[in-house]
Symmetry: C2
């Protein structure tokens, strides 16, 4: 029997899941691969916590250097996370001619170009299925299953915490703060949720997918990012009245010579299957010139679903080693020499449909002032709804627009904010609705 030796760096939640699968499903994996995948070394600075796994003597150690420098190890699985030592260990593993598996989206989004360059130069494989969408085979779909397609667009729900919060708010009207606090208490959400709720984690993933889809260098910094912390139950209810649900979407579209890539709360129609993806679940729709729309759906995070993807990558690489090949599928989906710098369109230049909610005093002439400013900037209103009239205080006025340019919309909202009849900064939520063509 052939043997493939694996070193695991980091034995936290997902790392433990990976170890569990490699140990508990060892026979299953051998029956499929025709070789033993041996977890030879596991490094973690925390040697004490009980992970529910019995490692053989000498496997579990504190010093990750001893893993990446071990000449007997073929594949390094990096489960440390973050952009610090994880990067150093990955680069060192590559330098040692080891194949690498990682789930580290923050690292790849920010430093992927140089890491992939290093891997390509050394001719080692670097797999990262688990960096986006947990168990969903998104990376494999883009790199392999859709290889004959020009990808036209991708639309994804890629952060379970955000989707849980929005789903709960939709179901029972709870506020963002309440659901978040509850999710943290139950352990669904991290103590520091900035990366999640501000959309940054989603944008890390979108940066990776966008590179794979269009054959471009990873470009995280130009992705427009807006999180969900300002989404109120009121807007969720109004969205429902128009046949929409609000989801934090990662959106990416090929526009010819550039790419539209952005992350923001988005209204999508009920008949878009993504609107039915609830709780911590993730999903992504990829649209290609031949396939039409394909959707993948599943757990985007969590110990075992993520570990499943890591093991899938590990087996993929093991199969390459057993076949005596590497670089069989290019790292970023396109041959390195064909990867271009494709610009991401500044958000100011996008055209989309908008939902606005103004908080205005209930007085004749208000609508005329607001719609006058919108009209002056060429923003065409599709419908206006005054939502309930209180005897005192401001009332919500909701407007849906035809296609409008973001820069014009921002200018208009800034002007409208200065009206004395308008209280607070208006709410803006973008709409993705394929049935609305103008």
């Amino acid at each position: 029997m052939k043997e493939i030796n694996i070193g695991l760096l980091g034995c936290g939640t997902v790392g433990t899941g990976v170890a569990k699968i490699l140990i508990e499903n060892r026979d299953l994996i051998r029956s499929r691969v025709g070789a033993n995948l041996n977890l030879r070394r596991v490094a973690d600075i925390d040697l004490k916590s009980d992970r529910g796994i019995r490692f053989d003597d000498g496997v579990f150690i504190a010093d990750a250097h001893k893993v990446v420098d071990d000449p007997g190890i073929d594949i390094i699985i990096e489960m440390i996370g973050g952009e610090g030592v994880a990067k150093d260990f990955i680069l060192r593993a590559i330098d040692n001619n080891k194949q690498v598996v990682t789930a580290n989206k923050a690292l790849l989004a920010n430093h992927g170009n140089s890491i992939f360059k290093a891997a390509a130069e050394k001719g080692v494989d670097l797999a990262f299925e688990a960096s986006v969408g947990g168990c969903m085979p998104i990376i494999k779909s883009l790199r392999e299953s859709l290889v004959g397609n020009h990808v036209k667009s991708m639309t994804g729900i890629l952060n379970g915490t955000c989707n849980y919060i929005l789903s709960r708010s939709t179901d029972d009207g709870s506020s963002f703060e309440d659901v978040l606090a509850e999710a943290q208490e139950k352990g669904f959400a991290e103590a520091d949720t900035t990366l999640d709720v501000e959309g940054i984690d989603t944008a890390h993933k979108l940066a990776i997918l966008t590179s794979l889809a269009y054959g471009m260098e990873i470009n995280f910094k130009d992705i427009y990012i807006e999180g969900i912390s300002n989404i109120t139950p009121m807007d969720i209810v109004f969205a429902g009245q128009f046949g929409y649900r609000i989801k934090l979407l990662a959106i990416s579209k090929d526009t010819g010579n550039a790419v539209d890539a952005r992350v923001h709360p988005t209204m999508i129609p009920f008949d878009n299957l993504l609107s039915s993806v609830n709780g911590v679940l993730n999903a992504i729709t990829i649209s290609g010139d031949a396939v039409g729309d394909v959707m993948l759906y599943g757990h985007g995070a969590g110990m075992m679903p993520t570990a499943s993807a890591v093991v899938s990558d590990t087996v993929d690489i093991a199969r390459n080693l057993l076949s005596g090949t590497s670089g069989r599928v290019p790292l970023l989906s396109y041959q390195m020499e064909n990867i271009r710098k494709i610009p991401i369109i500044p958000v100011d230049e996008i055209f989309t449909h908008y939902y606005f909610r103004f908080s205005a005093v209930d007085r004749p002439g208000v609508l005329s002032k607001i719609s006058g400013i919108l009209g002056d900037l060429g923003i065409s209103i599709k419908s206006v709804h005054q939502k309930g009239r209180k005897t005192k205080g401001p009332v919500p006025i909701v407007m849906l627009t035809h296609l409008a340019k973001e820069a014009d919309v921002q200018k208009a909202l800034t002007k409208i904010t200065t009206l004395d009849v308008v209280k607070d900064r208006p709410v803006l939520i973008r709409i993705e609705d394929e049935d609305e063509q103008d």
Copy 2:
């Protein structure tokens, strides 16, 4: 630049789609693969029809033998379909040491074991992603992405014609016959729809997936198959009142030493995402011990979506050729020597939940007679509903059961049919509802 030469057998709908992608997206494919994929030969007995493609001189010929025997061809794509010459050409291509791509589910379901054996003995790759679920990467997911998982179950909507008919009946109450006739007129449905509406096509696909998931020989003949031709708008409406939609499902479950594999109309709850898969779309949920549930969704048929999957297989094999390897991923997901004969449970022995509709005269004592027979056979009734009372003629009595054994259910229905107060054979529709545990 490296060159991979391809021969296409059959240039009907999907074959034409394959040719289109290989020709029109040739540069895209080269930029990803790093080699030219050349469509060297296309064989079809119909040389006259306009396919909207300009082939180079000498490419398009009538004699398929000249393709499979051409020593310059590396990969044969079989798009002839059926179980006749398609089989002969595939075996001859294998014998000529050529790699093969096919979408021929009927052939693989019925003759796959011997075909895969021949391919394994010759050491050639045989890829068949397009045989199940069109563009959805189901085969790749089972063979690669879920490699670290014990598959627990699969539940799929795998026939677009059936799903279109059931969706339309659900939406507007049209009868099976009316929707079918309309679909045939519009060209969605074949002239002979037996394979589709009787569930046979779905069972072909299930036979292939079941083999891949559990590491067993393909066993089509033991799959229980029931089509949709007896599903009435009335049952669809009643299903809705219980929170269910009716879908033609392919179901497969690992039960330990055997597999439960069957195709039949099934009621599934609204909150199962499969219930929202409408029209000609397909979807499948795969449940694994690590991943939980993963769902794939997309066009399960049609020229370009199916062709996209064929091209994906072709590129996969081209990459193997370029890497100088074959058999990198075993044909049927498990190493040949690990593929077992696992029995499929006879449908009589399954336990599930049932919906019954009896057509009974509206007279005191009827319910007692029916429920008496069910009780005698140990079938526990969850609820009974008398649906509307006419002044004359029989009325529908609907019952939902707790878990019951199919053999007992069939015995009970046969007895109930003999009651003079019961008109017609009772309607039976099985229910898959994970929330119902007993």
